[in-house]
C-alpha cells in the first residue's frame, strides 16, 4: 500500500526532486505490468506519464528519441507513418505501455526473432539515479562505443537502478508485406525438431513461435513480389502446406496477440530459456496457457495457481521468471540471479536503496 499521494513529475528536475524528497519510490508508466509498478511497503508512486513525447525523429537516421513516459502506441504510430517500426516488437501497446516501462521490464515480442530484442535496439538513456543525479549514457547515433553501456544495463532493471527519463532507439524499415504459416505436428518432439531446423537455416523469419502442444507459427516478411516464392520454399522445407494467414487478417492476428490476453486470466509471467529446456518444462507446466517466442528463447505464460508453486517449479528447472501481472512478494521468481557484480553496481547507482 502506498502511504503517500502519487507524484506526477512533468520534468526531469521534478523527478530529481522526488528522488531526493522520498525515501522509497516506485515508477509507473502505463501500468500495463502491475506486478512491477504497484508500490509496496511505503513506496511512493511516481507516475511517469507526464514525461511524454517524441523528442527527435528523423526517419533517415533510423533513430527515435523520446521521453520515457511516451506510450509505445504513439511511437509506433509515428514510425508507421514513415514505414518504420520497433523491431523488438514490445507487448501491451493497447494497454498504454510506455517506452520506459518496456525498457525497465525488458520486454520484447514475437518479431524479436528477426533482428533482436529491446537490448539490441536501445542506443541511449537518460536517467535519474537513486541519489537524484541526472545521468546520460550511450548516444543518439546507431553506432557508438564511448563509455560504459548504461543503456543496455537499464534493460530489465525494473526501475531499481534508476528512473528512466529519456530513451533513444534504433528503428528499422518495416517489412512491406507479411504472411503467416501455422503448422501443426503430431508431437512436441517433431515440432521442436522443425524449430531447430528452421532456426539453423537461412530462412529469415519475423516470428518463430511454438504454441503447445505442437504447433509452430511462422511469420515471413519482406517485399511483396518475393513473398509467394519464399512461402513456397518455406512450405517445401516444412514438407507440408500448413495453414496460411494473409492480408488484414494476418496483421490482426499478430495485433491480437500483442496484449498477451489470449493467455487468459491468472498471473502473467515471462520466462527466459532456450529451446532445449522446453521438453522438460512441458511435462510440468500442466494446463497453464502459454506460448514460446523467438525459437524457444522466450516464454509467456498465464499461471492460475499459487506463484510460489511456479517459483519452485522454475527453480527446479534452473530457470528464471518475471511476474508482470499477479501478486508475488518479488516479481523475480525462479533461480536467484543475484551475484556480487549486480550488488556492487546497484549500490553504486542507488546506495540508499530508494529504488530497490
Amino acid at each position: 500500500m502506498s502511504e503517500t499521494q502519487p507524484l506526477r513529475p512533468t520534468s526531469v528536475a521534478e523527478v530529481q526532486e522526488a528522488v531526493r524528497a522520498y525515501p522509497r519510490l516506485r515508477a509507473r508508466g502505463g501500468g500495463s505490468k502491475p506486478a512491477l509498478s504497484t508500490p509496496q511497503n511505503g513506496q511512493t508512486l511516481l507516475e511517469m506519464g507526464g514525461l511524454r513525447g517524441v523528442v527527435e525523429y528523423d526517419p533517415s537516421e533510423y533513430v527515435v528519441v523520446a521521453r520515457a513516459g511516451t506510450p509505445l502506441a504513439e511511437v509506433a504510430a509515428l514510425l508507421a507513418q514513415h514505414g518504420q517500426y520497433l523491431p523488438f516488437d514490445p507487448p501491451f501497446l493497447a494497454q498504454g505501455a510506455t517506452l520506459g516501462g518496456t525498457v525497465a521490464a525488458g520486454l520484447s515480442g514475437p518479431m524479436r526473432q528477426r533482428y533482436g530484442g529491446v537490448r539490441d535496439f536501445i542506443l541511449g538513456v537518460e536517467l535519474v539515479d537513486g541519489e537524484g543525479r541526472r545521468i546520460r549514457g550511450g548516444g543518439k547515433v546507431v553506432k557508438n562505443a564511448a563509455g560504459f553501456d548504461l543503456p543496455k544495463l537499464m534493460v530489465g532493471s525494473l526501475g531499481r537502478l534508476g528512473l528512466l527519463v529519456e530513451l533513444a532507439f534504433k528503428v528499422f524499415p518495416a517489412p512491406k508485406a507479411t504472411c503467416t504459416l501455422e503448422v501443426a505436428f503430431p508431437r512436441l518432439e517433431e515440432a521442436l525438431e522443425t524449430l531447430y531446423r528452421l532456426a539453423g537455416s537461412p530462412i529469415e523469419l519475423y516470428a518463430l513461435d511454438l504454441v503447445p502442444p505442437a504447433t509452430l507459427v511462422l511469420r515471413l516478411g519482406g517485399l511483396s513480389e518475393a513473398l509467394p516464392a519464399r512461402l513456397e520454399r518455406l512450405q517445401s522445407f516444412l514438407g507440408q502446406p500448413g495453414q496460411l494467414r494473409e492480408g488484414e487478417a494476418e496483421v490482426a492476428y499478430w495485433q491480437g496477440l500483442n496484449d498477451l490476453g489470449h493467455l487468459g486470466a491468472g498471473a502473467l509471467v515471462k520466462v527466459a530459456l532456450t529451446a532445449r529446456r522446453i521438453p522438460a518444462l512441458e511435462r510440468v507446466l500442466g494446463p497453464a496457457p502459454r506460448r514460446y517466442l523467438c525459437a524457444g528463447n522466450l516464454l509467456y505464460l498465464a499461471w492460475e495457481g499459487k506463484l510460489e508453486e511456479l517459483d519452485a517449479l522454475l527453480k527446479a528447472q534452473g530457470l528464471s521468471g518475471l511476474v508482470l501481472r499477479g501478486t508475488a512478494p518479488q516479481p523475480q521468481i525462479g533461480i536467484d540471479l543475484a551475484q556480487v557484480f549486480a550488488r556492487k553496481v546497484a549500490a553504486a547507482l542507488d546506495p540508499q536503496g530508494r529504488l530497490a
Binding site: 528523423d58 533482428y115 553506432k143 562505443a145 532493471s157 518475393a226 556480487v340
Partner: protein, 480 residues
C-alpha cells in the same frame, strides 16, 4: 628480487612468467604504437584459476594490471601500465564447445575471431561481428571493446552476439553474467560488461551466438564524380526502405591507395566509390536488387558494377578492406580516427573535414561505414617534418569535436582507451562520467584493472598511431 615477483614465480612456471626486458618488449604497446610503457612482468595463464591467481596477486600487492589479447587495439586499450602486470590471454585459446543445434560456441578469451566462423562453417553458421582485424584479434579483446565491422547496422556489434561470460572481477571473485538464452529477467549485467574496455574484469570464458549464413549476396559498386553524390546515394538507399547488410564509401585518395595496393579494378578516376551489399534469402535479395538498381541509377553514378560471382564480390571487398593499410603507401605516416555522425550529416562532416584538411595542409583519406555514419578519416603526415605530427593530432582532435557537435560520437568501434579519453568530456557531462566512475570504483576501489584508461585524467601525452601496425606491414591484417 622484488618479493612480490618471487611470489609470482611460485604461481607461474618460467616460460609463462616474463620479466626480462627482451621478453617484455613485444608487450610494451598495442596497435597504437606511439604509446609505450614498460610493465613489471607478463604472465601467460592457461586456465581460469590462473587468471584468478594473477588478479589476487595484483590485489595483494596493489599492482595495476592490463588484460591483453592480441594487442591490436587502436586506442591504447591494451597498453601496459608502467610497472604493472600484463595478463596475456593468448594461451587460453581453446574452443570449448560448439553446439550447432543451439547455434552457440563457447570459447576461451584468446580464441581468434575468424576461427569462430571457420569452426561454425561446416554447419552453415557464422559469427557475425567482423572487425577487419578478425584474422588476429581475440574474442576477449572484441568483447572488451564491443568491436564492430562492416555489418553493424543490420546485425549489431559484438555485444549483440555475446550470450554469457565468465568474469574474474577486479577483486578476484568470479561471476557468470548472462545465460544461453537471448532473453533475461533482470538487469542486463552482461550488457554493461561488454565494451567496458578491461576496466570491470577479465573474461575467461565466453558463450557466443552463431547465425545461419545468408543464402545469397548482391554486391554493387557505384562510382561517382563527387563525394556528396555517394553520400546522397546512401541517404536514398535508406529512404527507399532497403536495409543492406553493408554500405561503405571510399574517397579518391583511398581509391588511389587501394588500387596501388591490391588492383581491385576500381574506376581510378572516380571521386568516390560506394559499395552496397544486400544479403538474405535469394528471392528477397533478387527483388531488393531491382529497387537498389533504380535508386543507384537515379543517384547519378556514372559507372555501376554488380558482382556476378563470389570471386567478383571478394574482389570488390578486397580493395575496400585493404584501403587502410594501402594508405600507408601514399604517406610515411598516418593517423586513423573513428568518429560517428548522424547519417544525414555525412555530407556536412565530409565537407568540413575537407576544409580542415586544406587549412592544416594535410591530406585526409576517407574510408567509412556509411550505413552507420562511422567515419574513418586517415590523416596523412610525415613524422620527419618538424611539427607535422602535432598538426595531424590537432586536426584529428578537431574531427572528433566535429563529430560530437554534429550529434555523434568520438568512437564507433575502436574504443576510448588511452587515445580518446581526453575527449570524453566533450561527449559526457561531469555527472555522466562520475556515474561511470562510481560503477568502476564499486567493483575496483583500488583502480587496478586497466588503470589510466577511458576516463580523463593524468596521463602521458596523447600519442596517436603512426603508420601501419607491424601485422599490416606483413600483410596479415588490414583495417576497416
Amino acid at each position: 628480487m622484488n618479493p612480490a615477483l618471487s611470489e609470482l614465480q611460485g604461481l607461474f612456471p618460467p616460460g609463462r612468467l616474463l620479466t626480462r626486458p627482451g621478453e617484455l618488449a613485444p608487450y610494451a604497446s598495442d596497435a597504437l604504437t606511439a604509446f609505450r610503457a614498460q610493465p613489471l612482468a607478463v604472465v601467460l595463464p592457461e586456465s581460469h584459476e590462473e587468471v584468478v591467481e594473477a588478479v589476487r596477486w595484483c590485489v595483494r600487492h596493489r599492482i595495476p594490471y592490463v588484460a591483453r589479447g592480441s594487442g591490436t587495439s587502436l586506442s591504447g586499450g591494451s597498453l601496459p601500465v608502467e610497472g604493472g602486470l600484463v595478463i596475456g590471454l593468448n594461451r587460453m585459446n581453446r574452443l570449448l564447445r560448439l553446439d550447432p543445434k543451439e547455434r552457440l560456441a563457447v570459447v576461451e578469451p584468446g580464441f581468434i575471431n575468424l576461427q569462430v566462423s571457420q569452426a561454425a562453417a561446416p554447419y552453415g553458421l557464422y559469427y557475425a561481428p567482423d572487425p577487419s582485424s578478425q584474422p588476429v584479434s581475440t574474442i576477449g579483446g572484441n568483447l572488451a571493446f564491443n568491436s564492430g565491422g562492416a555489418h553493424c547496422l543490420k546485425y549489431g556489434m559484438t555485444s549483440n552476439h555475446v550470450l554469457a561470460a565468465r568474469v574474474v572481477l577486479p577483486d578476484g571473485q568470479t561471476v557468470v553474467l548472462g545465460s544461453e538464452s537471448l532473453e533475461n529477467t533482470g538487469p542486463d549485467w552482461l550488457g554493461l560488461f561488454v565494451g567496458s574496455e578491461g576496466l570491470l574484469g577479465i573474461v575467461t570464458e565466453i558463450t557466443l551466438r552463431l547465425l545461419p549464413k545468408p543464402e545469397a549476396y548482391h554486391t554493387v559498386l557505384a562510382a561517382y564524380d563527387a563525394l556528396e553524390k555517394a553520400g546522397q546515394a546512401v541517404a536514398a538507399v535508406v529512404a527507399s526502405g532497403l536495409l543492406p547488410g553493408a554500405m561503405e564509401i571510399m574517397d579518391a585518395l583511398a581509391i588511389e591507395a587501394a588500387e596501388a595496393a591490391v588492383q581491385a579494378g576500381y574506376p581510378r578516376e572516380a571521386r568516390a566509390l560506394l559499395i552496397v551489399e544486400l544479403e538474405g534469402e535469394a528471392p528477397q535479395v533478387e527483388a531488393e536488387a531491382r529497387y537498389l538498381e533504380e535508386v543507384i541509377r537515379q543517384s547519378g553514378a556514372y559507372e555501376v558494377r554488380v558482382a556476378q560471382s563470389q570471386e567478383e564480390r571478394l574482389k570488390i571487398w578486397r580493395g575496400r578492406k585493404a584501403a587502410f593499410s594501402a594508405v600507408g603507401r601514399l604517406s610515411p605516416d598516418y593517423l586513423v580516427q573513428d568518429g560517428v555522425v548522424p547519417r544525414s550529416k555525412l555530407g556536412q562532416a565530409l565537407a568540413e573535414i575537407e576544409n580542415l584538411s586544406a587549412r592544416y595542409g594535410l591530406r585526409v583519406a576517407n574510408v567509412f561505414h556509411a550505413g552507420d555514419g562511422n567515419l574513418h578519416p586517415l590523416i596523412l603526415y610525415n613524422g620527419r617534418v618538424a611539427g607535422e605530427l602535432e598538426r595531424a593530432e590537432a586536426l584529428a582532435g578537431e574531427i572528433l569535436q566535429l563529430c560530437v557537435r554534429l550529434g555523434g560520437s568520438i568512437t564507433g568501434e575502436h574504443g576510448v582507451g588511452m587515445e580518446k579519453k581526453a575527449y570524453m568530456p566533450s561527449m559526457f557531462t561531469p555527472e555522466d562520467l562520475e556515474a561511470m566512475q562510481r560503477i568502476r570504483q564499486a567493483l575496483d576501489p583500488l583502480e587496478l584493472a586497466n588503470r589510466g584508461k577511458m576516463f580523463p585524467g593524468d596521463h602521458p601525452p596523447h600519442r596517436p598511431p603512426s603508420g601501419p601496425h607491424p601485422l599490416e606491414k606483413a600483410g596479415v591484417i588490414a583495417r576497416e
